[in-house]
Amino acid sequence: MPGRWVLSLTLAIVFAAVTLAQAPAPTTTAATTTAAPAPAAAAAPAIPPDIQKKLDDLDKATKNAQMAGDNSWMLTSSALVLMMTGPGLALFYGGLVRRKNVLGTMMHSFIMMATVSILWAVVGYSLCFAEGSPFIGDFRYVFLHGVGAEPNADYAGTIPQQTWMIYQLMFAIITPALISGAFAERMKFTGMLLFMTLWSLLVYFPMAHMVWGKGGFLSGTLGGVVPAWDFAGGTVVHITSGVSALICALYLGKRTGYPNESMRPHSVVLSVIGACLLWVGWFGFNAGSALNAGPLATSAFVVTHFATAAAVLGWMITEWMMAGKPSVLGAVSGAVAGLVAITPASGFVKPMPAMLIGLLAGIICYLMVSKAKKVFGYDDALDAFGVHGIGGTLGAILTGVFATKEVNDLRMGMPMGMVDGDSGQVVNQLIAVAISWGIAIVATLVILKVCDLIVGVRMDVQQETEGMDISLHGEEGYNLES
């Protein structure tokens, strides 16, 4: 096979680069932006009123300027994250299904942009980010009560709380949409809507509160019992959706005819466009999670990009060596695997470890979707578990290994991860991973059972044969004769 040795050599060089990069080096630290301490005024002589007024005005102008900068980046990020669901994920998943299911599959993503948004305004935001128990928020922000222009200093002190609220909504939209990859081509629309609603209420909102909410059980920065690092959603978004996806695939059973009938993707072209939109949108997801436009956002942006690049090569080279050809679908799937894996680590690691995280994600996720899935025989149609469940788990654990105070000094000089000399963080990460898996498995099973009893979750065989587009939606994706 041409190039096998060259490829092996490339792998070796990347590993060497990562190892070298772990050696202590005099680097500039990209710390979080901190306001300069106000000068003590205790013993100072009285300031004339006109000077005092000028100082106050200056103070106000500085704060306004910072809010303008941070807010513009966070609104941009919010739009970027929405773009990941539609059209990003809708195209990525839509291309992978058969022609007769393209609209139904795109609808799985698109309709989350409406249903989750309403749910979020009514109760979701409050359950996630109001202070409450360690496991769920209370109802103080229902119907967005009290969510306005004033910043919520617990989360983001330099942007309006409304910006923080709408930014977080975009995460709540894409997470259930990710699950749809596992039940693609066979779930009833009513069952899907009810499932997604209950899943948001029972899995996403509690997990988001536990990891990111004030006083959440796993909160790394706001008084958690087991402080775990999850910068942009490795546990909250990718483990919960990926593991729930596996449960859905097992509960619904295989698509009729799987694996004997041909279920080739009907348009890898759409999937390539979708994956590229995901890559771009993910900068809003990860770099936006800095919640300001400072150097930490840049750091997250940079490591996200390099991890993704390494994951593309990791997947492509592994597939090239094992299956004979470097497929385009493989390359873009590798990108998504890398984006998933770097997500929890993106605000804590340096570029070289990020590349290692991406490379491993590319290799391991390829093996999951092409080998392990066959061995176990479940029909995770579009590999939501293989990419998001596995990539998210890998990323969450490796965050504990590579998190460093040189990037994000949340512990005021104390070690952030194993590379700083604290292996305990890996244990915290493992606990967070276990809790995420546990909640996802138990809650998803219960929700599926409830949905099955009330409206049913699986299309009948006739509908499935005809395709979702005609049988569920009364349309076709491609009307070439019209």
């Binding site: 041909s262 004979g324 979707v369």
Partner: protein, 112 residues
Amino acid sequence: MKKIEAIIQPQKLESVKAALIAIGVDGITVSEVRGHGRQKGHKEVYRGMEYNVDLLPKLKVEVVIQSPRVNEVIGAIMTAAKTGSIGDGKIFVSEVLDAVRIRNDDRGEAAL
């Protein structure tokens, strides 16, 4: 009158068309078809799932001509469509009972 149906490689359409025009065949109908002969398609792999794709895209060129021109037309198509490798396609010849020009009622060879 005879009908000649040629199943050809899609990329050979332009040269076949040119060859037919060069010998004065005026009417031609082309359709996109899928099929296989003895060649039996190829393998595609998507995320480790292997599919044998045996119905390959081809083009079907149909022309109806006066009976004495059969060998001339077959020769022109063969020269234009041949690559010498598997999958070049096939040519079928059949009898045509009548032809009608819808515009003005011309019948038989006058309608060609």
